[in-house]
Symmetry: C2
Subunit: 194 residues, 2 copies
DNA sequence: AGACGATGTTACTAGCGAGTATACGAGGAG
DNA sequence: CTCCTCGTATACTCGCTAGTAACATCGTCT
């Protein structure tokens, strides 16, 4: 009664994403993935059509998670500034919990139909946030010193950088990290002013 | 009297870095570099010992520029908080002016002696800034809400993200961008308070 | 003029990495 | 016990890429 199918598409995607995140998609070989999965390269092709399919599945996971954030109630009610803060926090938490997926998404270049579509979906996410920031500025709740598009890029520059160094299991918990990022981006590093 | 040596090591490094930045080091081929330089692949090998040498030269340029920032007078006199702000501004400006070099540096993984040493030198830079932030916190001029090491990572997460989207020639000038980053990181996105 | 050296070019080589053809082996149905 | 199916492994193919070898070109020095 031992599991007869220890390897299905999803578990192989898990493994592949960890390898891609570590070595880079181009730098990772299918043998690397196979070794990490404890299987042979040829075995992988019984479950997946190819290397790019693994990438595409990972990008899909990451984008679905980001879009899910925009669909959460707290991202859709209340004042714009609060909604932006919520999204920033949730993106940071998601970066921690879906680390390999978001690592791959944040590094991907548009070089094929699959990656082009992923890049486009990601841009759409950024645009949604930029609109929200513009709204918050119009409400007078966000500083107008920075143009919304630029603010969006810098915000995600900050939170996306999580994937470059965060490793689960450390002392820093995702919620703490998210709170720190929120504090930095909205209150700044200067001395407390209020 | 036309230039007799259009291709020397440095100009080839220029070209190679642009290609590496665009395609990624692993994704770029020596033929890509050759084509971009308007030369044959074999021709490159008359000037450079190999692909990794081009990478190493680029990493060296980037790290030299970062270290030069730490050596500037404004980074060594005055209050710690001001010095940190200066460094943040200069890193942002350098990211604009040495875009390909810093793009490659920020994406490099430690996979060979050359890249390991680059990653280590970069860490040393981060540590120097972290020490300065700790000093600024001790002075009471920087918020103690964030641990210095984390603050450093997030600061450079923000400014390093420039290389993902900034392209020279646009309306946004490096100095403006640097000022915007400084404002975001130190004053925050919240409404102006003081 | 003629030889040399620096710079390029047109072939190659060698090896790695994605993907495949085929054989193997274990469990279930008859 | 036999056949079928599913998953896996072994042993390939084949293209692409870093790097090389041998030949061509051209300015320069004598």
């Amino acid at each position: 009664m031992e599991v007869r199918k220890p390897y299905d598409i999803d578990s192989l995607t898990d493994v592949a994403l960890r390898v891609f995140a570590e070595r880079g998609y181009d730098g990772a070989t299918m043998d690397d993935v196979a070794r990490a999965a404890g299987i042979t390269k040829a075995g992988i092709y019984h479950h997946v059509t190819g290397k790019e399919a693994l990438l595409a599945r990972g990008l899909d996971r990451a984008l679905a998670a980001l879009q899910a954030i925009l669909a959460e109630p707290a991202a859709n009610r209340g004042r714009a500034a609060e909604r932006v803060r919520f999204i920033v926090r949730r993106v940071a938490e998601t970066a921690c919990s879906l680390l390999p997926e978001l690592t791959v998404l944040f590094r991907v270049k548009a070089t094929s139909p699959a990656t082009e579509s992923a890049v486009e979906r990601r841009r759409a996410f950024d645009r949604a946030v930029a609109r929200l920031i513009a709204e918050g500025q119009a409400d007078g709740e966000l500083s107008t010193a920075i143009e919304p598009g630029l603010a969006t890029r810098l915000i995600f520059g900050t939170s996306n950088s999580i994937v470059e160094w965060y490793r689960p299991g450390g002392a820093l918990k995702p919620a703490q990290l998210a709170a720190a990022i929120e504090a930095l981006l909205f209150e700044g590093l200067g001395p407390a002013k209020s």
